[in-house]
Symmetry: C2
Subunit: 219 residues, 2 copies
């Protein structure tokens, strides 16, 4: 299987750069999350609500990853936080080198929390380490209960699960308890939050947990 | 960019097998669609409603593609149509060879319509020809208006767009007219349907259009 061999080399090279990123983040006492999900699960909306909640008390910077457009960076820029848009131009995931190249736009010693919003894709980003402290996977209630079992790689490699669009539960054939049970079957160590960007449910809990993880502020 | 070169070779090899599939489909007067979308857009639900509508009058067979599990094949098997499940085991898209290998499970001369449900991924399956007559892309109203512009490759390469979960419009910050306008900006030739698998809205129109495309029955 020559394709697998090639893929392994790509991943090995990526891991080298990811380690460089990780060292740079550690040197700057920077907490970094890699936010991953299907397209349209609400990653950017969660980030907007999180910035409303946190940006007055925590210095946040954002890297946006998209196949095309800078729509997400435009949305984030309204919150007056440093943001850079990476356009992969067809690429299905961010790689450590793309993130590394984007970091020069920030003054890292003045940042407490860096959020990297990955390309919307529940498969490919699972295997690419960007140097983050952890992956946070978002799944919306509208996507159905079975997603953790059908796309286990992402849930296995994430540390946190956010079940989003919890306000839509009355209108969809989906049960958040089943989503959580299925996710924990893949990864029993997952820390779980439930959120709605419409009602703001769960955003304070998620925001406070994020704050508790930042080294500079908890020091 | 050696990665691009490798990728091109993979695609070239895929295209050779896709052409073999296409010839086999033509020989059997078989209309074949490649159903693509984000995870959780409702591909399998649309297929279930379509089978309810069509399977008594049209001979349908289904190839299910998933990263893991045979949940979707189990759902389709209830409709008493021939179905085969391809598990990609981490792979982010179907390839023509996987489809080719699965075809031996069907008696193709006894099939009018073959639906290939791809892995839930709005990026990678766009570039892999499986030998289908056309790609049908599904986007649900819960995913937001901007998806065609953010993931243009899939909408560019599709011939049909299904805007699904139209019943959820009152509860989400999304406008089907904007989804359609954005999709047509990427691909003005798109044929568009609006569906709801809860109310069955649009399923008869979609089903009749599918029937009109099948060679054996329209002959």
């Amino acid at each position: 299987m020559s394709i697998l061999t090639i893929e392994r080399k790509v991943l090995e090279k990526n891991d080298v750069v990811a380690e460089q990123n990780r060292k740079l983040f550690a040197k700057n006492d920077l907490f970094v999350i890699n936010l991953v999900s299907s397209p349209g699960s609400g990653k950017t909306s969660i980030l907007e609500r999180t910035l409303e909640y946190l940006s007055s008390s925590l210095r946040v910077a954002v890297v946006e990853g998209d196949v095309q457009t800078d729509f997400d960076a435009q949305r984030i820029a309204k919150y007056n936080v440093p943001v850079v848009q990476i356009v992969t131009n067809g690429g299905c995931h961010l790689e450590a080198k793309l993130v590394q190249d984007s970091l020069s736009t920030f003054v890292l010693e003045n940042v407490d929390l860096l959020v990297i919003e990955n390309v919307g894709n529940l498969v490919c980003p699972a295997n690419y380490d960007l140097g983050e402290a952890m992956k946070v996977v978002v799944v919306s209630t509208t996507e159905g209960d079975d997603k953790p079992l059908k796309y286990p790689g992402m849930f296995h490699n994430a540390s946190v699960l956010i079940v989003n669009k919890i306000d839509l539960v009355p209108y969809v054939n989906s049960d958040p308890e089943v989503i959580k049970k299925n996710a924990l079957q893949i990864n029993p160590a997952l820390k779980i939050f439930e959120t709605s960007c419409t009602t703001n449910k769960g955003i304070p809990e998620w925001g406070e947990w994020l704050r508790s993880q930042t080294k500079k502020r908890s020091a």
